[in-house]
Amino acid sequence: MTTTPAFEPNAPTPGTGTSWRERLWPRGGSGSGENLRLLALIILAYIVIVTFQSPDFLSLASLFDLIRTGSALTIVALGVLVVMVTGGIDVSFLANAILSAWIATALSNALGIDSLAFALTIAIGIGTFVGLVNGLIIYLFSLPTLITTLAMQGVLQGVLMVFLGARPITAGFMPSSLRDFGTSVLFEIPAGPGFTGLSVFAIPLVIVIVLTWYLLNRTPIGRASYALGSNPLGAVRSGVEVLKINLVVYGYAGALSGLTGLMMVSEIRLVNPVSLVGNELIVLAAVVIGGAKLTGGTGSVGGVVLGMALITLLSNTLVTLGLSASWNRFFIGAAMVAIAAISHYRAKQRNLKLLNFQDV
């Protein structure tokens, strides 16, 4: 039997390339590669503008700053990405982060254990547990994920404030290992009259980037997550165990929330139980700017990193540009609407040509 042209792609198919590499940096095709290029271009242009204003900006020190300020949220954003790949969404992550961080710190104090490893274990453990609960109830009652995690956000804050009676833990009462974690550097380089260093946060950041990439691209669960987001019914019929995926995906996002929580409190040396919550939308914005679709099946680690880099850059150069912070949200919003509009519009046009009317 010979092959028939009917099995050929409709047009020279874009988006060919080894799929694994594609997930980190997709080349064209379903639009995500285009999206990443667009994003990289915007970041470059922005860096040029800032450098024009302040020539010192183009330096290793700026990169170090970017890593220090952006790493915690990038980590949690990668967790959100993993959830979004399956077609879900999680908005309870920051409530989870502060809950985990508070319990970890309070427990360290109560037991008199001054060890970063202990605090990390507790925080990540609690974060994972909360994530697993999310995944479980979403699966059991087949609930819409946005609403469930939104409700969960309220429950977590309530648990923290009412049941645990959480009160801020200030620098003086923080285990010193945790206090130091936020300020430690891997190495230092001279900068101005002082010096600047590469924050230790670079280590968890790199680990999580690699781990997330590995999870999404090199494990059965990761591939099944893309499958689930791509065609939920089909995935179930192909024997994908949705419960298992939900648990792994929400558990992983929860674990990263715990890690992020601990990083954030150690960075500011204050465990404030009412902080963090409310910044979820910025993280979601980063993930979406990075090209993940809410309907699932798409999204890449590289996209999230770039998306978060752009948002961190936008808010961290306002003083340098002499702009009032009031305009910060405006720029993030404008970037988000523009990027989303361009990439979705192109995808829509492409699909209409293929007579696919799904995103009318």
């Binding site: 039997m1 010979t2 092959t3 028939t4 042209p5 009917a6 099995f7 050929e8 792609p9 409709n10 047009a11 198919t13 874009p14 988006g15 060919t16 390339g17 080894t18 799929s19 694994w20 095709g29 379903s30 691209n217 090199r218 494990t219 059965p220 591939r223 099944a224 893309y226 499958a227 987001g229 791509s230 065609n231 019914l233 089909g234 995935a235 179930v236 019929r237 192909s238 024997g239 994908v240 165990e241 099946g297 798409t298 209409l352 293929l354 007579l355 009317f357």
Partner: protein
């Protein structure tokens, strides 16, 4: 031959319908069993019970001598039962290779996915089917045939002892069907049993070792293909004798309803010129990709042509949206009724009335629910939709009845020009005849009908004129007695 699977007294009830009623059935290794039955007779439900997607209310599934009350999807898969659904469980965002090697990826051991091995698996699976596909293309960008080949190839990557195909051909054009049947024969040679469900009875006769007939969830009987013929099978399925009727001649002086001149859209079709008269059923024949659906969508305002003219009742029209088309009296019963034609969770009557809201709206654009109900009930009776009530959600209907709802929805608009894109794909012989009857009645009342179909017999029977499309052009026109499926087939395939 050794028995592979036996069903004993399988029953399944949905709220209002007894979908399966004590079904007994047995399949031997390497046997191709075709299941025939009208829409809603319970074929898909039976398949779902075997592969674990549905839980039977009572009865046993005996596989390899072990009896199971029910199977879970993964359990069924482990036993070697693979199913290819009508709507294919493929993943548009993954590549072809990943889709094919999906099970291998899911069950691999070790820490690192061996991408090369996966590609090899995919290549081998495709080769054993004699097919070739771009392994790294995103599957969502490929044609339906490619998706189906991918799905079959995937089923073969696992130990497969029973392959269930639920209406694999209803969305495939003739040439791909042949390829599919060849694949099935290869599987059979390898000792794999196949359950094949199809409404295209000629295929059933071509491929089946045994035909199992189901009616209203009950077994009618098992037959060897040699013992019965197509019309006998149709009778067994429906309980009535279906007599094919021929369309009427159209008077040459009937007014021209639609005239298309030099219509063109790059990459899809070009130089299209034809006319449609009142009372005429005009057939479009051709292969997939020959541009028929594209043309239909253009006339319906969803795929605007780049150049050319469309005249309705002699007046030139620019149709850029379905609203324009409906207003001009052009309606389209599209290929994919589930996703393009129906609001699954909404009541039948709302589905039917949805097309004429514009017309029945009163002051302030209000729509009286009484009017909606009256219209819905009226059409449910007229096209004889099988349902307990017109307020049932339309997704509870079987395929044929859903298609009737789509037809009713458009007939309610009293269209001047009705375009049907494969209107009877996946529809049983009984309903098919009813749909054909509706179409003929409509033509007799002065409506112009364009019928796109991959079923050449259907074209030959229903049409007074047939245009043959090849690579985006009209290459031939047949009319009256010239129209035979053989001649059309020959023209379609020229210089192939």
């Amino acid at each position: 031959m050794a028995e592979l699977i036996r069903l004993e007294g399988l029953s399944k009830r949905y709220i209002a319908t007894q979908a399966l009623d004590h079904v007994d059935l047995s399949i031997a290794a390497g046997e191709v069993l075709c299941i025939a039955g009208t829409n809603g007779s319970g074929k898909s439900t039976l398949m779902k019970c075997i592969c674990g997607a549905e839980e039977p209310d009572s009865g046993n599934i005996v596989f390899d001598g072990h009896a199971y009350k029910r199977l879970s999807p993964s359990q069924a898969m482990r036993l070697g039962i693979q199913i290819i659904y009508q709507d294919l469980a493929i993943f548009p965002d993954l590549t072809v290779a990943e889709n094919i090697a999906f099970h291998e990826i899911q069950h691999r051991k070790g820490l690192w996915l061996d991408w090369k091995a996966c590609r090899k698996t995919a290549e081998d699976a495709l080769a054993s089917l004699g097919a070739k596909l771009p392994l790294d293309a995103r599957l969502g960008d490929l044609s339906f045939g490619a998706k189906q080949t991918t799905a079959i190839a995937r089923a073969l990557t696992q130990e497969c002892r029973l392959l269930i195909m639920d209406e694999p051909t209803s969305a495939l054009p003739a040439r791909d069907v042949e390829q599919l049947l060849t694949m099935v024969r290869r599987l059979k040679e390898r000792g794999i049993s196949v359950i094949f469900v199809s409404h295209k009875l000629d295929e059933v006769f071509e491929i089946a070792d045994r035909i199992y007939v189901l009616r209203d969830g009950k077994e009618v009987g098992e037959y060897a293909p040699a013992d019965i013929d197509v019309s006998e099978l149709g009778f067994l399925m429906t309980g009535v004798r279906v007599v094919a009727g021929k369309s009427d001649e159209v008077k040459a002086d009937a007014p021209v309803l639609l005239e298309v001149r030099d219509l063109q859209r790059d990459g899809q079709y070009r130089d299209l010129s034809f006319a449609l008269r009142a009372g005429e059923v005009l057939g479009f024949a051709g292969l997939t990709g020959s541009g028929r659906t594209e043309t239909a969508l253009s006339l319906f305002g969803l795929n605007p042509a780049k150049s050319g003219r469309v005249l309705v009742d002699g007046a030139e029209l620019r149709i850029t949206s379905p609203q324009d088309a409906v207003r001009a009296g052009i309606v389209l019963v599209s290929e994919d009724r589930a996703s393009q034609g129906l609001f699954g969770r909404k009541p039948i009557r709302m589905n039917i009335a949805s097309s004429i809201y514009e017309r029945i709206k009163g002051a302030l654009s209000l729509i009286s629910s009484d009017k909606e109900a009256t219209i819905g009930d009226e059409w449910v009776t007229k096209v004889r939709v099988k349902t307990p009530s017109a307020s049932e959600p339309v997704q509870s209907l079987s395929g044929g009845n859903q298609q009737k709802v789509v037809l009713a929805k458009w007939l309610a608009t009293e269209p001047k020009i009705l375009i049907l894109d494969n209107p009877t794909a996946g529809i049983d012989v009984g309903s098919k005849a009813e749909i054909h009857e509706i179409v003929q009645t409509l033509a007799r009342e002065g409506c112009g009908v364009i019928m796109i179909s991959d079923d050449l017999d259907e074209l030959a029977m229903s049409c007074s004129r047939v245009l043959v499309f090849r690579t985006g052009r009209i290459v031939e026109e047949f009319s009256g007695p010239e129209i035979t499926s053989g001649r059309i087939a020959a023209t379609i395939r020229q210089d192939d």
